[in-house]
């Protein structure tokens, strides 16, 4: 289990991580979702002690990461697959991890097999690796100590579709066996297919969190009418906040029934009324992060 409580990290006047609180539970895959630069990586570095938080605490299995006697066998970490000495071979990098953790030597070859790096590839220097191979090596390094907790930053980057599928099954298996998996991504689809719980972050702040099912059902209502302005006025009068979603429809947080009743009372004929879950997490993600997104593309 990973518990993060009120963690804040500033760089000068910029607050990269702002009062972030969430828990990644055992037996579940927690997806840490957010646009680029939202604070995902900084939060993960704070968990493992590479970055200091200005306030707040982060614990792994109930202890601060720095207090773990041999972190590698309790927490598998992959923060940046490219952060390796380019002159070492893949096998050597795994061997260093194996030695630091005090594991039997055979673990190195076992892990190379698990991540499907051939003996020939393992003997090559990392500077000649593709991003996908680095990613596999990084995952092998994270798994070599057979930890209960996995912390992976954008692990699917650079993997081919088969590789992504493989990683998904691997993480699923890990969680099903009682492990805790926290993985970040800026790609919704990835999180949607693998995560049980979702934590969404935008501009350093948590914008939403919960189980995937919960989040899907709180997506609200999508409503359409010939005269949108009139519909909006009617909803306002009924005390329902609605926002134009850009494609000639209105979006609200309330259930469809309330919207329908308000329209009926005002005598407005609706052309469409439905729960806004059809578009899945993507719409929600864009919506939830629109206000805090860097490029500010959304209205």
């Amino acid at each position: 289990m990973i518990e993060i409580t009120a963690v804040t990290r500033r760089y000068g006047t910029f607050t990269a991580v702002d009062d972030v609180t969430f828990t990644a539970r055992a037996g579940r895959v927690t997806g840490f979702l957010g646009p680029n630069g939202a604070g995902k990586s900084t939060t993960m570095r704070i968990i493992v002690g590479l970055t200091r938080a200005h306030s707040g605490t982060a614990t792994v299995s109930g202890r601060k990461y720095v207090d773990l006697p041999n972190p590698g066998v309790e927490v598998g970490v992959l923060l940046d697959a490219s952060a390796q000495h380019a002159g070492r071979t893949g096998r050597e990098i795994l061997t260093i991890a194996q030695r630091f953790m005090g594991l039997p030597r055979r673990r190195v070859e076992e892990m190379l097999d698990v991540v499907s790096l051939t003996p020939d590839e393992a003997s090559r220097r990392v500077r000649n690796y593709s991003l996908g191979m680095r990613q596999r090596l990084g995952i092998a390094t994270a798994l070599i100590g057979d930890p209960e907790v996995l912390i992976l930053d954008e692990p699917a980057n650079g993997l081919d579709p088969a590789g992504i599928r493989w990683m998904r099954d691997l993480l699923r298996g890990y969680a099903d066996r009682g492990g805790t998996v926290l993985l970040s991504s800026h790609l919704l689809h990835e999180i949607e297919v693998i995560a049980d719980d979702i934590v969404m972050i935008g501009n350093g702040r948590i914008v939403s969190q919960g189980t995937k099912t919960e989040l899907l059902h709180t997506a609200g209502t999508l409503v359409r009418a010939t005269d949108l302005a009139e519909l909006r006025r009617a909803l306002d009068e009924a005390g329902i906040a609605a926002t134009p979603s850009g494609d000639g429809s209105l979006r609200t947080d309330v259930i469809p029934e309330l919207v329908g009743k308000a329209a009926l009372a005002a005598g407005i004929a609706l052309t469409e009324l439905r729960a806004a879950e059809g578009a899945g997490l993507e719409e929600m993600f864009l919506e939830l992060t629109a206000a805090s997104q860097r490029d500010g593309a959304a209205a």
């Binding site: 923060l79 953790m101 493989w166 066996r177």
Partner: protein, 267 residues
Amino acid sequence: MTAVAAGTTLPARVPVRGIPLLRVTQVELRKMFDTRSGFWLIASIVITAFLATAGVILFAPDDQLTYATFVSAIQFPIAVILPMIAILAVTSEWSQRSGLTTFTLIPHRKRVISAKAISSVAVGVVSVLLAFVIGALGNLAGTGITGTALVWNISVTEFLYFVLGNVLSLLIGFMLGVLIRASAGAIAAYFVYSFLLPTIFGLLATSVAWFRDLQPWVDVQYAQSALFVLEGTLTGEQWANIAVTGMIWIVIPLAIGLGFVTRVEVK
């Protein structure tokens, strides 16, 4: 693309034991050799020692073919290479970004730095011992070729001074690596330390009268050079010079660098 090579449940947790410093040191020692650049840098000590030995045999006048001449010649490349080895042992964690893994596996960064210090000093001492062996071979070969008398004019004390002097100059490099944490910057700083500063101090000493007496107490190269003259034992004052300059130029900046290392963000 196989599934994880493990059972259907996570293995029962055995009590996790800490990582002993000896193990960290062994791994750090391994890391000094396991890249081509690291390997050849250390190998270059042996190679240049052989070259320097050959140079002495070829070019030194016959009456100077003594053990001390060989050792002094070998000293030149060693004095440059050892600090580089120490610098790169530290800075590669940042320059190559491998520190992301290292400091995640060993979150107590001072342990990593201590292990690097021990392994660097170990490499330094072994290198110097090797240099003495190569120098001895050179002395045997040189006098054999020229037919001059064998002269073993280095005492055990001088030998120990020599080892200590090299370890100290290696530690200067190590300190700069910890303080600067970037390969290029630390190497540049080392050359300022070992070539520019002594020159400035030397000029000051010749032009400013009162500085002449002060120089041994502030000029670390000047103070340590006493260890390399291979002429008898050092006086108490010379030891004090080494201790004071070592404090100013090695211990204090190293402590400051360690403070940075433990606080700085690893990215």
